[in-house]
Assembly symmetry: C2
């Protein structure tokens, strides 16, 4: 998606360690006009899927999920993160390893809010190692719900997540694909939409 | 706002300790049609204010902020929560006491994203003790920005926050006011819009 790529080039910052900082428009600061245009792009891409819920993980996926859910006229839903969480019978849970924080955490969603009737579109801001996304897919599978697709704003194509997720057969639509951040230069691969 | 009150009555759950659970439509599960109608109500209420940014705190305020910001055609912004955070020169910071978690945490926002040019509409899902809201007001004041108003989905009028905030002269618009949750019964006071 050209508008997203342009925004990444004009407002993104490359930090040491292959980090792309987009806090001025995608997390913390939210360019809602841009996110709404992204939502429209995913809507057209996944329009044929009978989506019943748009799901993400707190916190930076929430604005995206809300604007995408609006396009599909369905509810949004976000998984919560917990440092520690006892197993309870009323929540679907999964463990996620954070490479950024170098620790494992639990994500969970109420069983009342995600059921086998659901056909879910998962959205998130980033896909790098794919740990958070695999956790979300895990929650959907625990609920015996089905996955209509995955919409990612920015995938780091040089990390292992995108390939691992595509290998499972999930329909993944990334709006910007970063091929490389070497020497502080942002290079894109061709996006899915 | 009648539609919000109706939804609270039909889908809210009163738990012991004066807790009103609205996770099926306002936090975790998000009824984006309802939240969009709430956003429209605040837009009409605060229309005369030259709002430049809609600000909230992670996580459950984010969907609200995104949909409100869309109405005003301005960016949204959310403060992040930290268990511990070193003082740094590039962030506005404030301390917030959580009665739910019985501990203090830090909220912060990048100085790049909130400046003295800003006229801010603060929004959040709940107002009870007012600690989180006072933290947000603190951040706006640290930035020498001005406050155009505060939009709250559900205020617990029987707790001290709403009165404290109104006493400061801030223009507070609560869309549902809970007068009492005693004996598991939800009683409303007249809302601001």
């Amino acid at each position: 998606m050209k508008d997203l790529e342009k925004k990444i080039l004009s407002a993104g910052q490359v930090l040491p360690g292959n980090i792309l900082l987009v806090d001025s428009f995608l997390n913390q600061g939210l360019d809602v006009e841009l996110i709404d245009a992204m939502a429209e792009t995913w809507y057209r891409y996944f329009e044929s899927e009978p989506i019943t819920k748009v799901m993400t993980i707190e916190a930076s996926g929430i604005a995206i999920a809300a604007l995408v859910a609006k396009k599909f006229s369905v509810p949004a839903l976000f998984a919560k993160k917990y440092d520690t969480l006892n197993l309870t019978s009323d929540r679907h849970q999964s463990s996620v390893y954070s490479y950024t924080k170098k620790k494992e955490y639990t994500i969970a969603v109420s069983k009342r809010l995600l059921t086998e009737e659901d056909h879910v579109l998962i959205v998130d801001d980033f896909l790098a190692n794919g740990c958070a996304l695999r956790g979300l897919i895990d929650l959907v599978e625990s609920a015996n719900a089905s996955i209509g697709g995955v919409g990612i704003a920015i995938e780091k194509s040089f990390q292992k997540g995108p390939e691992l997720i595509r290998a499972t057969g999930v329909n993944l639509c990334s709006l910007a694909k970063i091929a490389s951040l070497e020497d502080g230069q942002i290079e894109f691969a061709e996006a899915d939409a």
